[in-house]
């Protein structure tokens, strides 16, 4: 895979640091005007651009271990740049791959709600608006003006707070169009995390923390060279820009959704 993007904005989430507090989810909802329902317990209907999952190692008491796993949109690049699962199926070009940033866009005014992208997304990061958002009395005055609220019948997802990138660029234009600094463009979840588990930056830039933490091998689909780093469903070849760090092996293993007896199942294939 050629590394032809100007920027490759990505995220590194340290699962050993994540306490599962959910600050990132709250910050995300507030930042991006994400609608919510009175009863958020039905996860098929609720919308969570950033969602914290709880994993466990499935072992009884003494060895039991849990892990919280925040899941934003992975902003997949696919086998070649722009071959994200959702982008390649969208019939309306409502979602597209940013050749400048590597961020997968979602244009609400173009989307007509076929939900093909939701079916194609292996991470369930896309959500459908079954209703127009209903804000509690007076809350519409507290909505962020930088993100347009979505209407009924369109799909939405995490945008890596793209509006923050645009605002940061506006500021850079005032200083003569200089390059952005690492701290000028940070997502809301990154800033909200009290444990500093989330790091955000440009994976293409060797000076940025995200690059140093995972050392992505951009020649080979961005595979992390740090042995503690992994990506979700690496085997699918979606080439996500969200990396996870963990010192625990079972978590790294869980990231790829191996079947329990997969090692045995695979053997005959290798022999044959």
């Amino acid at each position: 895979m050629k590394n032809n993007l100007n920027h490759r904005f990505g995220m590194v989430i340290d699962l050993d640091k994540c306490t599962g507090c959910g600050s990132c989810m709250v910050a995300c909802m507030a930042e991006n005007n994400v609608p919510f329902r009175k009863d958020e317990s039905d996860k098929l209907l609720s919308i969570t651009w950033m969602r914290v999952f709880r994993l466990n190692n499935g072992k009884p008491f003494p060895e039991t271990d849990i892990c919280y796993l925040p899941r934003p949109c992975m902003q997949c690049a696919g086998l070649h740049e722009g071959h994200s699962p959702c982008v390649s199926v969208c019939p309306a070009t409502a979602t597209d791959y940013g050749m400048e940033t590597g961020i997968v866009s979602q244009i609400y005014t173009r989307c007509f709600g076929c939900r093909y992208c939701m079916a194609s997304c292996p991470y369930h990061s896309r959500y459908f608006n079954w209703w127009d958002p209903i804000w509690p009395d007076g809350m519409e005055k507290y909505l962020s003006p930088n993100v347009s609220p979505r209407m009924r019948g369109v799909v939405e997802k995490c945008s890596f707070c793209y509006h923050r990138y645009q605002l940061a660029k506006d500021k850079a234009f005032m200083d003569g169009g200089r390059e952005l600094k690492e701290n000028e463009y940070q997502t809301a979840c990154t800033q909200a995390c009290p444990a500093n588990a989330i790091t955000f930056g440009d994976l293409n830039n060797p000076d940025h923390a995200v690059h140093r933490m995972v050392k992505p091998d951009l020649e080979h689909g961005g595979r992390p060279q740090n042995p503690h780093a992994f990506r979700l469903l690496e085997r699918l070849g979606t080439n996500p820009k969200v990396y996870y760090l963990s010192s625990r092996k079972w978590i790294r293993h869980a990231g790829d959704n191996y079947l329990k007896n997969e090692a045995k199942m695979k053997k005959p294939v290798h022999h044959g």
């Binding site: 793209y162 660029k169 500021k171």
Partner: protein, 267 residues
């Protein structure tokens, strides 16, 4: 009773008379048709013109409500009073965002008390400044909620002039009438004065394709002439940054079908 019966009977009689006569005069009616062919064509032509006038002149007039701005602002006069041109009042904030229509706080700097004898200014100071009430300006081309437009990229980045897109508003002595579409509620400036959608100046209309017009032309110019002057290289870079694929435009491409251009302006 008798008065009401009279006409009723008469009409029945008339009807009976007509039905009785009809079969006899059939041939005559056909002859009359041939004679009135010209008048039918005339009627048809008249009808076409009437509907054209109705559709192109009367309907557009009925479609738009005309509203006056609360205060008739004189741009030409103000621009002689300030040092920094348009940016004196329509300025950039430090974070790169654009202030747009000035708020009362900026006006108060000069207009805390009545300065002259103009009745618009007297009205402004008495009705708004002294009561500290924001002026409810009618915005000619309000940005829809789904759009992110960067003034900084155009004015600071590409070093464009305000006039290029907004026209010679700075030389106007009074504000134009605000026209609002009765059906959509949008300002007429979104569609433009011409109901057919033709425009003479860039500032006649502010729709998505009007943005695309310049962006495509600039991209094509750069490719054709291969200019390497600093300004053009700068524009070149901006286009590369904001819509990289626009540099290799082919005929028939537009901002709407071009890959990865949407997210530049839509939020």
């Amino acid at each position: 009773m008798s008065t009401s019966d009279g006409p009723a009977k008469k009409t029945i009689k008339d009807a009976a008379h007509e039905t009785a006569v009809e079969p006899d005069t059939e041939g005559k009616i056909q002859k009359q048709d041939k004679g009135s062919g010209g008048s039918i064509i005339l009627f048809f032509i008249f009808g076409v013109f009437a509907s054209l006038i109705l559709g192109w002149i009367i309907f557009p007039k009925l479609l738009y409500v005309k509203k006056k701005q609360p205060i008739d602002f004189n741009h030409a006069f103000h621009i002689t009073q300030v040092d920094n041109g348009c940016e004196s009042c329509h300025f950039f904030r430090e974070d790169g965002t654009f202030s747009g229509v000035p708020k009362l706080d900026q006006c108060i700097d000069c207009h805390e008390e009545i300065q002259g004898v103009d009745r618009n200014e007297i009205k402004f100071v008495e009705d708004y400044v002294s009561k500290y009430r924001q002026v409810p300006w009618l915005i000619y081309s309000k940005q829809p909620n789904c759009v992110f437009f960067s003034h900084a990229a155009h004015i600071k980045g590409a070093r464009m002039d305000c006039v290029t897109c907004h026209g010679h508003i700075g030389e106007s002595t009074s504000l134009k009438v605000y026209e609002q579409n009765r059906i959509t509620g949008y300002s007429r400036d979104i569609w433009g004065k011409n109901i057919a959608g033709f425009k003479k100046n860039p500032w006649d209309r502010m729709k998505m394709d009007d943005c695309a017009e310049c962006h495509q032309r600039d991209a094509a110019d750069i490719e054709k002439t291969n200019i390497k002057s600093p300004e053009h290289r700068y524009i070149d870079n901006i286009i590369k940054v904001f819509s990289p694929s626009s540099l290799s435009l082919e005929k028939g491409d537009s901002v709407q079908t071009q890959k990865d251009a949407c997210f530049v302006c839509h939020k």
